[in-house]
Symmetry: C2
Subunit: 214 residues, 2 copies
């Protein structure tokens, strides 16, 4: 398809597509003559991914370029390719190792992973931004004197494991490795606000079931 | 306790506590003489809540004041008091009713609530920000051509219903209505980043279980 059709099918303005091409976020089309290039379904798919990261996720172009570098790196196995792409997404602040609440939270998270039998996640602890995000979140609770029990934390973790199984089952329905990784990135950018909205809506449903509408 | 002890126990600087008092985010202490006031455990609890909203949630003072107004409104029944406090928290952008994807998403969300049997949430649809957030999130998927099936959406919703049951069970462990509402607000501010971290960590655990460490 020509640039005009790529624009029409993606809903992205041609000037914006040209900008993504210049920035290397979209691979060049196949040149048919000096002024015209042909684009295919892969361009359309890539354009949607770039659009999701920039428009919905609000990511800077440099981050998008880094994520795409991992998406396209077929020298990696599936786990590391998924991991590298997702780890390049923006993360929360780093834990401050000097802070007493952070040190206590590290022990609590390590105990949680043992309790859950998440031995692989424990092995990844030193490199995983998700692990550090969890330490920061648990330290924030404890610093504020929030008395949220360990067993409750484990129950939430088990539900999130169910969510992660759905995430990966969906990723696996896609045929190529590149599409699998793209879907995982899209999922991270798009589904987090959706899960948050579903949780708040479920709270409303459950609250009115338990206490009525007053 | 005196201001100095309130500061020590909460970890909040006395100048900051004085600022919260001036802004009406913290009720005045009991005046024991012209220069000294006494504070109690309720002040400490309130201070932690204010701290969570401002420091962890990054909320502006005006929003915190509005949330607290609902937390303290004991003329409301439990559902409405929880709802009013949570609805005052920042929400995503409003759906654009003129947009074709938004209109399609409204129908899809209505069908989802029927499929789930969330009849109460459906009744609240016209007033609930969570409902509008979900419409915006579903419209974003569809606009980007993300082929996420309806049944998958329903499966995520059912897991979020389990999360909401844990949320409300924990809220119910607190004795007074005011503490129940405070806990719900703290939960919304503090647990969203934690659930997100748990989900990403669970994805790593599940991905390495399925595909190994490469």
């Amino acid at each position: 398809m020509r640039l005009a059709e790529l624009s029409r099918r993606s809903g992205v303005a041609t000037a914006t597509i040209k900008y993504y091409l210049r920035e290397g976020l979209l691979p060049p089309g196949r040149q048919v003559n000096t002024t015209t290039a042909e684009y295919d379904e892969e361009h359309l798919r890539r354009l949607r991914l770039v659009r999701a990261m920039i428009q919905v996720g609000g990511l800077p172009v440099a981050t998008v370029r880094e994520v795409l570098g991992h998406v396209d790196d077929d020298s990696l196995g599936r786990s590391m390719r998924l991991g590298a792409a997702l780890w390049a997404l923006p993360q929360v602040q780093e834990p401050d190792e000097e802070d007493e609440y952070v040190r206590a939270a590290q022990q609590e998270v390590a105990a949680l992973l043992d309790r859950l039998g998440w031995q692989n996640a424990k092995l990844l602890a030193t490199v995983s931004p998700a692990y550090r995000s969890l330490v920061v979140a648990v330290a924030a609770f404890r610093r504020l004197g929030y008395e949220w029990g360990f067993e409750l934390l484990a129950s939430y973790a088990q539900l999130m494991h169910e969510v992660a199984r759905l995430d990966l089952d969906f990723v696996e329905t896609h045929p190529s490795e590149a599409e699998k990784v793209e879907t995982a990135v899209l999922g991270a950018v798009l589904t987090e606000p959706m899960l948050q909205a579903l949780r708040r809506l479920a709270q409303e449903e459950e609250s009115t079931r338990r206490y009525g509408f007053e």
